[in-house]
Amino acid sequence: MTHLDTELKILKADLIEMWQLVVNQLEKGMKALTNFDRDLAEEVMENEKRVNSFELKVDKDCENIFALFQPVASDLRLVLVALKIGNNLERIGDIAASVADFVLEADTDFNKAILEHTKILEMYAVANEMIADALEAFDQEDTRLARTIFKRDKILDDIDNKALDRVLECIQNYPDQARNSLLVMSMMRKLERVGDQSKNLAEEIIFYFEAKVLKHKKKKKKEGDE
């Protein structure tokens, strides 16, 4: 293994560890919401610092590899992609922390009926799955799996488009949960962004393994481009 290989291996390992942490953050945020577990929500807020330090570490790894090894071809793509993935993961980490913060802002348990009617838990599950699958696609070099992520973003968008109406219905039906309903609305707006970030991750994964640029391409082209 060359010196550069060793450095790239470390970079990849850092990225995967950061990714797992972010997946974990989202899952804990969902549990905190479902069980109204304030301790868990606080843990997510606290762990956000770890996500941030990972981003700095990945940035530093990349800077060193550029400066010391002048990577080319797939090595170069990995370093370029690592910079962007690190940045995307940090933003997803921010979203996980924001959702946890909204949980902490609630003064009573979230009514289960609200969670069901708004479909926030379904949205949350899809978002978690997208990030976790993106990780698997990166780790297993599975660009087919990466391509499935583009389709799933539509599920999040559909739920998000109906969020306002459903939240209004919740406020009418459960007036004592008006504050919580609005908090759910804010969370859903955040979760919708996870879909966009996941698409960015999928684009980067495909760029890394296939050297294809899918940015700003039509959705059908992204899903079917083999």
């Binding site: 060359t2 010196h3 010391l68 090894f69 002048q70």
Partner: protein
């Protein structure tokens, strides 16, 4: 990490020419230190202090201290210079194998040092060729002339020859500048491997090479050490403007 070599206010004159102007620097043990700088900056002169190679140049004057494991090597007895050079191996810019077989090139240093046991020599030749990542390529032709090897293989043979007498320090003066990119890559990987066992000091014109292989870098200019530090720091955020200008190719 402790210093294997240390120079304190080292000055070197070739006649009237003041080639090194008070260099104070510690070379870390079991690490790779690269010396970079434009031609004539003193980096090779500095490297040659460590095995007293400059002694061979007439009208050379040296002052200050050059400590190897804490001992000033300019105060040792003349008879001890040989043992100093056994401890400090050197590899030069152009591969310079002896006009002998591959085996004999590596065995030479052992024989000169009085080792006669054939099996011991054979074992050491194999071990050293393995260390120099050359064994697999030459094991079936050990008795062929060293000149039949490619340039890159010859240079690895020279590294094996230097390692055979088990030095603790390896000095490399532009070890890959005469080689093609593939051979250069092999030498660089080898340097990366060898640092676990040896203290390596490498002089190179090739800044990217310094970045790839070294842990520490010293930038020399006009006989002075301008900046020394971890290679990552020097190549991402050097402290001195002169270093920044040199590594970015804006002068030198």
């Amino acid at each position: 990490m402790s210093n294997k070599i240390e120079t304190i206010d080292a000055h070197l004159y070739y006649g009237d020419f003041h080639a090194l102007k008070g260099i104070t620097l510690g070379i870390k043990e079991n690490a790779v230190t690269a010396l970079i700088g434009p031609s004539g900056c003193g980096k090779t002169s500095y490297l040659r202090l460590f095995n007293r190679m400059n002694d061979l140049i007439p009208y050379t004057q040296i002052s200050g201290q050059v400590l190897l494991d804490g001992q000033n090597i300019y105060q040792i007895k003349p008879a001890e210079i040989d043992s100093l050079r056994r401890n400090v191996g050197m590899v030069f810019q152009n591969p310079n194998p002896f006009p002998k077989s591959i085996f004999e090139n590596v065995a030479y240093g052992l024989r000169v040092n009085g080792i006669k046991d054939k099996s011991l020599i054979e074992a050491q030749v194999e071990k050293t060729l393995q260390q120099a990542a050359l064994w697999d390529e030459v094991k079936d032709k050990l008795n062929q002339s060293a000149f039949e090897l490619s340039g890159g293989q010859q240079q690895r043979l020279c590294i094996a020859r230097a390692l055979a007498i088990e030095p603790t320090i390896l000095l490399m003066d532009e070890p890959a500048s005469a080689l093609d990119p593939i051979s250069t890559g092999k030498i660089e990987d080898l340097i990366f491997e060898l640092k676990n066992q040896f203290t390596i000091v490498i002089v190179t014109h090739n800044m990217q090479q310094a970045g790839r292989v070294s842990d520490y870098t010293g930038f020399f200019y006009l006989g002075q050490l301008i900046e020394y530090g971890k290679t990552r720091k020097i190549f991402t955020n050097p402290t001195k403007q002169e270093t920044e200008n040199y590594i970015t190719g804006r002068f030198g």
